[in-house]
Symmetry: D2
Subunit: 358 residues, 4 copies
């Protein structure tokens, strides 16, 4: 179904529209008896909130989820965990002038065609990036379940507009590094790159434009043998989840597209025994062979396109009146959504990985 | 489930192991009354067969599927269509020496861990590239259903070992071009690149090595409004299907990772009316916004890693005896599987696209 | 997943616990652009509310659903429709004394075992009959979609404690009759039976006991050819939905168990042409052959066991202390839940039937 | 999907038509490493084969399944287990005269409408009782997995045409009894009832008619806590599976429709400690509360309608020519399919129960 991650006994269903009454998530199949730390869930969600550094929209979102079910005495009940987030600060007049002119790069036109014009167009409706809030909530819940199993994940900005952060080591992504990245204003391995990234974003913003980037995500602690061959393995489920994040247009595991220039002798990860544990001396495959984990870190990258909402005038169509028109998007919009997409990618990974274990 | 593409009312279930009795596919949810042309199905499958040009294994595969159900008087019944392909030429002695030494880059070790050592290890078992034969069969069936709806797809080799073919025009992929590509020995837009590609493959082969590449796929004729937001859209389903092909490690829609260096003003596809039809003057998004088709060609690329089976000695582990070992893979193996993966990618696209329409 | 009706592209997911913050439903796959009449939804839900006639609990439930998403300008958007119902009047002290003694006939013990004691035990938690409120909401939404397609459904009390109402005519269930039944205090075809039924319920109540019954449901207007063979037909989906209602223990289509004493010559529904329409002169099969509708009314009955919550002392176990104990259930409980289960059965039918059409 | 039992990670997909090339099943999600005893699978399947006692068709079915995948060295691989059964003795001329006259009680007309006339009509095509052969195969495989977990099931004829066998004790169904029933020519608890049942069947057969009956099934050894609330519990899954058997029209758990006349004080199963184990002194609920097992035997009954294929002349319609007609069904048909449906019901139970445990 359209807005469900339906993974066997485990599922996450997302609902809501940007300017409707509320958005939310229902998680089915969580193990029972897991104590959830709400503060840490809110911390996770805060990483998605708009920053005060000019990189993100100034719209203040108080996205505190209210858990309606599935939690009793602070522990998961095992029955569906539902949470809602109210939409409050939704000055819909900001969006008034874009209701019939399709915003290029957005789903305005395709959504209109899909739903015969009945979908909620305000702020993108169900297609809005705001829907990543319940996704991030669900991923934050999953993170706490995974932690009990010794599994941890972390995403960071690998690049913005051609300015690169360092990459994770494919062989070892330490817990401390993950914690540091999550605590930073900009989720980077090498904080010194933040300034240049910000400069690029601000320049684009001043030029009424926007920039894209790349996010890298690692999952550690997953033992060997988790996943499935063919259509329901780690790569399949992670992809299905990650493409649920608006603006994600590509995903690559391990060396990804760089494999296209490699020889097999270099691409194959040579194996060795490290005590009783099988390890690989490289990890070009991002910890996945045949859809199944090898015990090495899971590593993947995703491409995030530049925010389609830009203030520059754009040529488009009025899809009600079927005529050409020009559009200047007013309102408050991020010139770069990459930082805010980082916890969403991490959340998607958490959900996909947990689905194999519950 | 592990080996099912389970898309709402429509599904394709693949079964079999490389050296077992047989492999096959069950397709549920096909429309009834569609006349199937078996010759064209066999033509499609022949594009996957090993080539005689030294690029592929010389193992002769007579992969003629036998349709057991779902076809009556040459037309689909609407009830499950099942087909099997016998495994015949399976000299399992070729594989004898690799049964306990994990082949690097393969799923030998991860499959062993996943199934507690009970999976069929011969030739990769269920993880074998041979399982793409029923996938291609299913995609060939879907192609004939799609054709009645005016929808067509075509994949080609975009690159092998750094040697590039031309790309599809993102705005128009003519039927004649698709037909030409499919009829060629090497599925290329610009046939003049075949020689250089072959040279790279042969050189790698002589050096007991292998090479990878990139496949590009286009789907035309899909009207605007097909797909779904969030987790069950075109990108999600195509990805889920494509990652079912062994050796695929990345997928990118439209500009994919190149978006990371683009400005929004360039990335956004400006829109205009072409008579009564909404079109975009660029198609950076590969015909998909919010998981839904725009009416422009669907375009995506996938990365194929170098064939892991190489004759060069490799360091690995004996996962039964838990010790380091060295491995030289004998037997017949493709030095480059990119050409044979082309129809598999096209098949995956056909299945994913049809799933939204039936 | 446990609390989802997952029917291809269409699904209804129910969440909540009796004494938690709230309960609700998410409906995926509704057609877009359907105007919903909230008053009629509330009317439908009111049929589930406790009656003032002593047959049902006096707990006042103000189960007004709040629609959070999926509705815009009064019409369905096509994206997920989510609604929540707050739990307000939840005097949990009433339930205090039953927290460790399993209530016989309830899921207290099985739920405890299923969730390792972490499920919410208050008022039955997720197993509570209260969860039929969001089910009825979803069924009321579906009813309005079905109505546009000329499809209508109606359930009534067929029997309470051995006192029988008339049955629907298997050949024709007129719209006017359906409307009348829905408007009645007791959903009966023959209102004159209400008094005797009430007498049985009151007698049981006075004796600190409870009674069960049978509900019959009809769906009309479904054209021939809707459904599927084997595991995903009308009978399969209706059953899956109906067994989601607590206390339902059996379902029978058409003649059901009476078929066991019939001859084929009597059981087979002879067919004839009524103008251009194929009809059957009997409808023993309840309008379903091979999981597919015949165009005749769909008719099925379900058995509802007596309310397990009775005031009489009962022998049971304390499943925390692992010892025998005795239990007297205090609190407010229906002596007969059959009348309140009627709209739930109808809702389940609506959901199952609509799932084949969207 | 129409012909799949899709239970989370576990699924059984059935394909085939009565007179096509073959029928079969694909089982996904079996545990790996389970040794399968083919002789016992064949024994199980033989219980479905036509009897030599005149009760069943004389058509000789050599329904030996060929396992194509999922089994290696006699043990399950964990990857999809596929098996096919060839259709051999398919004298289609027997069926020639019924191709355009709908057989009353069959799915001829509804299948025609569902598939726009493209479905295979020979012998009922995909709707044929013959499709229970792969279902029984799958159930026989599941039985061997369940046995390792101490879980056992057995179905028997509870009634044919009003002649009743004894019922299982709801409190204890011993292994020895199960074994005896399975070894008998007629699957009965009280063999002395066989003669009278046979007499009823033969009389009906002589009168060119047929009879129906009731099958009772028990599952023992299932620990408490298996299942799920609401829509995906034991009752839901067993029902979904059992209604996949042609001619099944009703299912009842525990006391089923008899609950309608019971008082709560009698219906509630009083609980007590038997050493460390929670037991109930009655088992009216058939071992299931809230969709979850109690540890007591699972007990349910299903109604099987009389074989619709009878030799008596019947009034029907020619659905090609849209006119009334009369039909005399020639060919070989069982006058009572209840005995042959017994292993199918047991198989359905095995599949449903195993789906919760894998």
């Amino acid at each position: 179904m359209s807005s469900d991650l339906n993974f066997g006994e485990f599922s996450v269903s997302i609902f809501g529209e940007s300017h409707g009454a509320g958005i939310g998530a229902v998680i089915n199949g969580l193990p029972s008896g897991v104590e959830l730390d709400m503060d840490r869930i809110l911390d996770f969600m805060a990483r998605r909130a708009p920053k005060k550094d000019g990189m993100s929209t100034r719209r203040s979102e108080k996205d505190t989820p209210e858990i309606l079910s599935g939690l009793y005495n602070g522990r998961t009940t095992g029955t569906p965990l539902a949470a809602i987030i109210r939409n409050t600060d939704t000055r819909s007049q900001d969006y008034r002038n874009i209701s019939t002119a399709a915003r290029p790069g957005h789903a305005d036109y395709t959504g209109f065609m899909r739903y015969d014009g009945a979908n909620d167009p305000r702020g993108g409706g169900h297609f809005s990036g705001r829907l990543t809030a319940p996704l991030v909530f669900a991923g934050a819940v999953c993170a706490q379940v995974l932690e009990r199993l010794g599994i941890e994940s972390c995403a960071h900005i690998l690049a913005i507009d051609g300015v690169y952060d360092d990459s994770f080591s494919e062989l070892d992504v330490p817990h401390e590094l993950m914690e540091s990245i999550k605590s930073r204003e900009m989720p980077l391995i090498n904080e010194s790159r933040a300034e240049e990234m910000r400069a690029h974003v601000l320049k684009a913003s001043e030029e009424l434009d926007s920039v894209g980037g790349i996010i890298e995500c690692a999952v550690t602690g997953l033992p060997a043998g988790i996943g499935s061959p063919m259509f329901d393995g780690l790569e399949n489920r992670i992809s299905q989840a990650v493409f649920g994040i608006p603006a994600v247009k590509a995903i690559a595991f391990g060396k990804g597209f760089d494999f296209a220039r490699m020889r097999g002798s270099a691409a194959n990860d040579q194996m060795y025994m490290d005590g009783d544990t099988v390890k690989t001396s490289t990890n070009n495959n991002g910890g996945i062979y045949g859809g199944i984990s090898s015990g090495m870190p899971i590593i993947f990258t995703v491409a995030v396109k530049p925010t389609p909402s830009i203030a520059k005038p754009q040529k488009t169509v009025d899809f009600i009146r079927n005529k050409d028109t020009e559009l200047e998007i007013k309102g408050r919009h991020d010139a770069c959504i990459v930082p805010r997409a980082v916890p969403a990618v991490e959340a998607a990974a958490n959900i996909a990985v947990l689905s194999f274990i519950v």
